[in-house]
């Protein structure tokens, strides 16, 4: 069987049924715009906007992807529509990849909103765009797989939301989005480096204006490793919890 047919069909269905629905588009646009405006107004200067842009982009991706994926999968499980996917002759890794691809695309679109605002105010002519794309894709992948891990672990939609926030809000403060990691208390710094968004944010800073603290290859490797690890944990848990 050609697995690309179900893969693309699941992706297309999810994009149409969930991600491109007007309320979700507004979530994907309003949330990043609100964040972006909040920090633009607060900063008011070119340098600060440039410094804040990577964090706002990373945050838009994180919130968009984790919310959507955790909720849509939990919703489909509750309505039993997810059973239809389990009954199909598709391997679980392909099924999970298909379900997450929509959220990854949604996350990438989300990241474009603050970026478009950014190019109005900041000179990004020196940006390394291939590194920007790599960073956005990897942040979207890790955030989505984090959402997947949450979706696999919960039964109810409200649990998915609560569990998502348990991971997301600490990341806002611990991943160097608004102040550098080395400004954090010493005992919190190891925790920062255990979170994927720290590497995503640092890679974006490096790509957009050369302001990263870590070597880009280290960040790329860490984000890839987080993606693989989170996908693997989700897959293992899905095997245990979805096929009882």
């Amino acid at each position: 069987m050609n697995v690309w047919i179900p893969f693309l069909s699941i992706l297309q269905k999810d994009m149409r049924a969930y991600y491109l629905k007007p309320p979700n588009i507004s979530w994907g646009i309003i949330f990043p715009v609100a964040w972006t405006l909040m920090f633009f107004i607060r900063s008011g200067g070119d340098v600060e906007i440039r410094e804040l842009l990577p964090g706002v982009m990373a945050l838009s991706v994180l919130f968009g992807t984790t919310s959507m994926l955790a909720v849509t999968i939990t919703f489909e499980k509750r309505s039993r529509a997810f059973e239809r996917l389990i009954l199909a002759p598709i391997s679980l890794p392909v099924l999970l990849a298909a379900k997450t691809s929509g959220a990854i695309v949604f996350g990438i679109i989300n990241s474009a909103v603050p970026l478009l605002f950014g190019v109005w105010f900041v000179d990004l002519s020196a940006a390394n765009w291939s590194m920007v794309i790599a960073a956005v894709v990897l942040i979207a992948a890790t955030s989505t797989f984090l959402g997947l891990m949450i979706a696999v672990s919960v039964r109810e939609v409200f649990e998915a939301q609560t569990f998502s926030n348990f991971f997301r809000f600490p990341m806002v403060f611990l991943c160097g989005l608004f102040f550098p990691v080395h400004h954090l208390p010493l005992f919190l710094q190891p925790l920062s480096y255990a979170l994927p968004l720290t590497y995503g944010n640092d890679l974006l800073r490096e790509a957009l204006w050369g302001g990263g603290q870590l070597h880009p290859l280290l960040s790329l490797a860490a984000l890839t490793a987080f993606s693989v690890l989170l996908f693997y944990i989700s897959l293992r848990n899905a095997r245990r919890r979805w096929i009882i």
Partner: protein, 320 residues
């Protein structure tokens, strides 16, 4: 040729053993009924056979593929209709069918053609563009069955297919299942409606408390209760005196008055008791209605399991 082979299948949830070492096989082209009260293990068995649940022990082989090793290969050839709807409420009827087709690798033109064919077959062409969430219960059930048929499965699993739907939809579903079976599709059906199993199935397994208590062809099961038959009379006037007439004329047969002006006369053969109509007439009893009651699968079920038909839905409560 068996398309489903199950040996010593066990499925436990913690300390609860929902399926307790069952053995059976289903031949290609059969309609096989899995009959038992709620909570007997029917749904758990179907979940294991379709890949929604993992067996605890035993052997399962579907379409020649062993589980869990070749589950995906088997899933290519099976269709599943669960006890509830498992389609997408936000998609239209047609979109649901074409989406389900894509899950089996069917190309766009072919799945659109097949979806149109199924919508027509199930009488849903007029509502093909409507969101599934707006369908009536009977329409939802029909579309769920249609979705399970989109890839032309060799084996169709149905879990309580007519449960809770209107009579007309249930009749249509039964007709469609018969037609499918005539075209070679093997049907594995779980139900707690004994009459439905009797009407549709070639072979039946009775399952109670996770164990199969009997598997046989419908004919052999019905032979077990013999040719016993009864005549039920609705009479004008005094039913008690009419019963005395029958007891005098047919001393070796049991005649009883049911209290609502009805009489029942049991015999081993129809020929023996059919003269009762004339006997009542000769005795001046007005016979308003006569019904012949044949032994049914329900009688066999009661005899084999000790569970009365009324207890079927109450037994243990809930699905299994």
């Amino acid at each position: 040729m068996p398309v489903i082979e199950v040996e010593e299948l066990e499925k436990s949830f913690g300390d609860v053993r929902a399926v307790d070492g069952i053995d059976f096989s289903v031949q290609e082209g059969e309609i096989f009924g899995f009959l038992g009260p709620n909570g007997a293990g029917k749904t758990t068995t179907i979940n294991v056979l379709t890949g929604l649940a993992r067996k605890t022990a035993g052997s399962v082989r579907v379409l020649g593929h062993f589980y869990p090793r070749d589950l995906r290969r088997a899933q290519e050839g099976i269709g599943v209709v669960p006890d509830g709807s498992n389609l997408y409420p936000e998609l239209s009827g047609k979109e649901n069918l074409t989406f389900c087709g894509s899950l089996y690798g069917i190309r766009k033109e072919e799945r659109e053609r097949r979806a149109a064919e199924l919508l027509d077959q199930f009488g849903l062409s007029g509502v093909a563009g409507r969101r599934f969430a707006t369908y009536s219960k009977g329409m939802k059930r029909k579309l769920t069955i249609a979705a399970a048929l989109i890839h032309r499965p060799r084996v169709l699993f149905l879990d309580e297919p007519t449960s809770g739907i209107d009579v007309a939809s249930a009749r249509q579903i039964r007709r469609i299942l018969e037609r499918l079976n005539c075209n070679g599709t093997t049907v594995f059906l779980t139900t707690h409606y004994i009459e439905e199993a009797e009407r549709l199935c070639h072979r039946v397994a009775f399952i109670v408390d996770g164990r199969i208590v009997r598997v046989d062809s419908l004919n052999l099961l019905l032979e077990e209760v013999g040719d016993d038959c009864s005549l039920q009379f609705a009479v004008g006037g005094d039913a008690a005196s009419a019963r005395e007439v029958l007891s005098e004329v047919f001393p070796s047969h049991k005649a009883s008055a049911t209290g609502d002006g009805q009489l029942l006369l049991r015999g081993e053969r129809l020929d023996d008791i059919i003269p009762a109509v004339c006997a009542l007439h000769d005795a001046g009893v007005t016979v308003q209605e006569v019904r012949l009651l044949r032994p049914s699968l329900e009688d066999v079920f009661v005899r084999v399991t000790g569970i009365e038909a009324e207890e079927m839905t109450a037994h243990r409560g809930g699905g299994s």
